[in-house]
Symmetry: C2
Subunit: 241 residues, 2 copies
DNA sequence: CCCCAAGTTTGCTGAAGAACAAAGACCAAC
DNA sequence: GTTGGTCTTTGTTCTTCAGCAAACTTGGGG
């Protein structure tokens, strides 16, 4: 993690290049980025401590600088569903972008996270005055919508094994790190988590993973998954219909 | 249907009040609405003929004036999933709003539909120059996202009976008409359609509906459903977890 | 170093619902 | 009125996967 060793204070003097390569800010000049940074509140979150919770007033919007965030919804029955994962460089909590005034889900850091945030009241300022910010933000909304849509289709048409395989593939494509012998998911993830992403049980996920390990598709240990044969997993995820 | 008896030509001289009560245009004055109407292409679609198809270049965006539209996605395996229904007064095909240049799904009229459409190139003009248009459009995006999210959670956590019940309830809330003895879904809908909305089979939906009819929750005939005890259906939809 | 909590594996059983099958009902067109 | 296509119902069988239960593994904290 880039910033793990740095104190939060350092952000105050951080070079404007910090945001310069992140899509929503890519088109901006240094003075503009400086202005944006001056309005930002940097904050560190430990794994497990919610950044914001479903239903609360959306007072701020966020940018994840480092770490991974899990966006979850909890049903009345206590079931948890993981809606999506946020990776470094992405905006989140942007309820304002879609005309909402409460957060639709809860954001939980999976590991130590470093985030910037701004008051929601700044949203219209950003979209109106910073070139490309609105466009990029809506593109993010579009991508998430597309992903949700795909998952909906999967849930409706695919078997558990295919769904779990796709979830794993999605994770390595969004947040994979090349390692010797394959690609690993670069944040801690449990069978329970995978089952919350796919609408199944940890038991079933465990059985599937064991099976995959036996035929050489993955290698996993506690809270840790390496895909050793991504192609094989793709093939499996497309089986049967 | 309001316009069923009218020719399309009449739109050319339609009063500006036509759009005045529709949310995205609510804040506009008559000259502005006139300008928008002048850019619009009105068109009638018969049930079953696609307005646009998944994957095609998003050359226009649409407003549904009358009728009902079903937005579907088709898998490689040929399975169909109904993503949502559009009712009169709603924008659709607004890929531009979320930074896409192709349509993410196919739009099929369920009954005879009357739509207005504009070239996508006008999108930035509308959002920039017409007060409230952007805000309302993004609110629509937000609502659809919320609905999809809810369905995702349902698919992951609920049983078939609960899912189907909720689908029916959602339909009557979005597109219900009060009739003697209950609320009816005011467009034709088959068991197959309901199963495409809930990820089950027409057989299972048929069994469920028969059961519900027996205990007095609904009354249905060919392509036609009346909910006679909405409260009972809500109770049922919340059962078990 | 040991303990404990969190995470994982595995076996067994049963229920939900899909798949297969076939007949019946309704509607529109001829 | 007849015919054919679409939609619906109902029965039976079979698969998948959730539920329950219990043991095992792992790694961090005291």
């Amino acid at each position: 993690m880039f910033f793990s060793k740095l104190g939060v204070g350092i952000l105050r003097k951080l070079d404007e290049s910090l945001l310069g390569h992140i899509p929503p800010f890519r088109k901006l000049g240094r003075p503009e980025i400086r202005a944006i940074l001056d309005l930002a509140e940097p904050k560190r979150f430990a794994a497990g401590s919610a950044v914001f919770e479903e239903g609360l007033a959306a007072e701020r919007f966020y940018l994840l600088l480092d770490g991974h965030i899990r966006v979850i919804r909890t049903t009345e029955g206590g079931d948890q569903v993981i809606a999506l994962h946020i990776v470094a460089g992405q905006l989140f909590g942007i309820a304002a972008a879609i005309g909402r005034d409460t957060y639709p889900a809860t954001a939980i850091p999976v590991d130590d996270c470093l985030v910037l945030s701004w008051p929601t009241s700044q949203w219209s300022n950003f979209t109106a005055n910073y070139d490309g910010f609105a466009t990029e933000s809506y593109k993010v909304v579009g991508e998430r919508m597309g992903e949700m849509n795909n998952r909906l289709v999967e849930m409706a048409t695919q078997q558990v094994e295919q769904r779990v395989a796709r979830a794993v593939l999605r994770l390595i494509s969004q947040s994979g790190r090349k390692v010797a012998g394959g690609i690993e998911i670069d944040f801690p993830i449990t069978r329970q988590n995978l089952s919350d992403m796919t609408g199944t049980t940890l038991h079933t996920v465990s059985r599937l993973m064991s099976g995959w390990e036996k035929i050489g598709l993955v290698k996993s240990s506690r809270r840790h998954i390496v895909v050793t044969d991504a192609h094989g997993l793709v093939v499996l995820s497309e089986r049967s219909g």
